[in-house]
Amino acid sequence: MQMDLRTVAIKPLRHTFDHLVERFGDKPASRYQEGSYNIQQEHIFHYRPAWDAERVLFDKKRTRIVMQDWYALKDPRQYYYGAYTIARARQQEAAESSFEMIEERGLAELIPAEVKQTALDLLVPMRHVEWGGNMGNSYIAAYGYGTVITQPCLYHAMDHLGVAQYLTRIGLVLDGPEALDTAKEAWMSGALWQPMRRHVENLLVLQDWFEIFVAQNLVLEGLLNPMLYDHLDADFSANGGTAISMMTRFMAEWSSETAKWVDAQIKVVAAESPANKELLSAWVKQYRSATREALAPIARRAFGDHADEVLGEVTAEFNARCAKLGLAV
């Protein structure tokens, strides 16, 4: 049965704003479209930045990638602020109930010592890697071009902070504040972590924002996240560490969700021109080998004799993913 409520109907004069009419025609626009397209200023700026006098405030020339229209890079998740926070709030609620259950029932005590130690050695120092991810993505949010790409990078930066905080909580649950000090020490001077720290610091001084996007969001996360949240996670579960998997569930979901977003960006940029494709491919090759070097000792600690096998598998999947995106790697 259908009910028809009657309302006073007034015919609107127009459906949306001029720039959206130009882009999509005069029809009702989505909240994503209204909140994202062309809301960054483009042409006229008053003063040259004191910190970059060669360019204007929002400048297409802060990357070597060239796009006819930067607004071609849309977010398949269509995240504007409201959609983003509501999605993350749902995920954090699930994560929170996992942490609560583990803490209330003392489930961490049931994890075999060896498994727990692996988590402390590998997951907790990783919070510094996440912090590096936050810095790279806030750089893009500040200096990138076009809201459809700068906006999700800020969300991604905040996500990295959130993940760093979940990893911190894992340390607190498994051991306590000392776990964080130990992890920091390992990060600063432990042999296992130095190649990774060097790699992360190298990314912090990059200036081309799209290069950061590739090095961090595509390559580093594309190799690291599957290694941690698929392979290592499976090992945890198989060896009595289900409680750890419960605590990394947010990261597992988040990394597959964000990978789809990253893919959509790379695909569009690669398809734009042979020059873009060549540059992206070169970056991927460069950062893939740097990332693998940084991951090697970590993989050895995680998977022992199987390390090469796991890294090989992760790399093969990553290569297939890049090929699908139109890159020659």
Partner: protein, 518 residues
Amino acid sequence: MDMKTTKKKLGLKEKYAHMTRGLGWETSYQPMDKVFPQATFEGIKIHDWDKWEDPFRLTMDAYWKYQAEKERKLYAVLDAFAQNNGHLGITDARYLNAVKLFLSGISPLEYVAHRGFAAAGRNFPGVGPRVACLMQSIDEVRHAQTQIHALSNYNKFYEGFHAGATHQIERVWYLSVPKSFFDDAFSAGPFEWMIAIGFSFEYVLTNLLFVPFMSGAAYNGDMATVTFGFSAQSDEARHMTLGLECIKFMLEQDPDNLPIVQKWIDKWAWRGVRVLTLVAMMMDYMLPKRVMSWKEAWEIYFEQNGGALFNDLAKYGIKVPECLTQCSIDKEHISHQAWCTFYQYAHASAFHTWLPNAEEMDWLSAKYPNTFDKYYRPRYEQWREMADKGERFYNNTLPMLCQVCQIPMVFTEPDDPTKICYRESEYQGEKYHTCSDGCQHIFDDEPEKYIQAWLPVHQIYQGNCFPEGTDPTAEGFDPMLKVLEWYHIQNGKDNLDYEGSGDQANFAAWRGMATQNT
């Protein structure tokens, strides 16, 4: 089962420190000054970033949770507003002109604030301020978007909104005033940004900028805007705390920072006050139901509340901004001088203007006993007389603009309200004009910056403000109409008088439809 519950519970502050501070490290494979290249060039000295007091301790999970709750509520109201013709609930469609000014002049600033705080959130070497800045950055994109979403429904039914929140801020003459303010701050370094936006704009001036618009919305039945305003209130409170913490931190770190910070406070207080001219005019002239006069707002929020703030900062050696004396004189004039300007240039504005009616003039006389009847009422009466005779006055020449604040030279001398105030400076053999001692002072301090200003009037005269492909030698070429086209101002629809406008006619007809049976 053996339950081990001896684990020490962490205090909130301690826990938060682990969740943020502990994440950063002193880099060694790359030098710190390459990782944070903007940390020192402004001359601010920071010795210990760990002394930073986190103004609010919000972890990401808590942030997502609280903010999502607010978003759900806000969008539920916006949906209901759209579904039920909420726009017909406002006092009068004339009110919407204030909202047009807000969408074209303020919402774009929220966006730039978002980008600028993202930069600050990358550039400070301390983790504490970085996290706080990033939270403000994401809040600011929220504000830009929720404002656009809230006002989008008005765009469907009223003129003057269709250009959205970006096109005009880059181009239109009066919008270069707020735009140049934010361009100025963002093109400076991260510390000046924090004083300009974090402290001056978000702390000292927010009660004079954000609050009047939102209160105006509440008084005039604008459910969409006021719901946004309430929803943003707790964000704004956080931003104010950050601004204050930041200035205290800079002052506590090194005595050498004091003169730099004082200079910035003086500069940004004056820059801010000039931008507020638009708000002053909105409060005194554009609201059918008025909240309070500009003068009253200034006295409460700046002279009283601001006075208390500066008393608090006095222990660091900070003095009240040097513009204060001039401001106390100006508070009696600027709203009138601004509205008189817009009335004369109503053909070049993206909103409607009108002459205050008899009741409104009496209200203005009562609120401005020292100035209104003496200087401004006669002007309005003269224009009323001309309009009644069919000779509505439009000013068809373009005004000279101040090189710094970019407002037309319409302000008067502090000691003579009948004389336009001009100041002149010379730089590299060229003359530059400013509207006041305050603006001249700012110009003289950084002439190499302010000579770069993109002054809308100069640009029009240079032929840079026509649509692409315009041929000025073509027969019937009308420069004014071409500029309006470039502005996305629809001549005869978005501009001119409210009396006789499409907005006025439609609102009357639609309200009739909604309230009567004929």
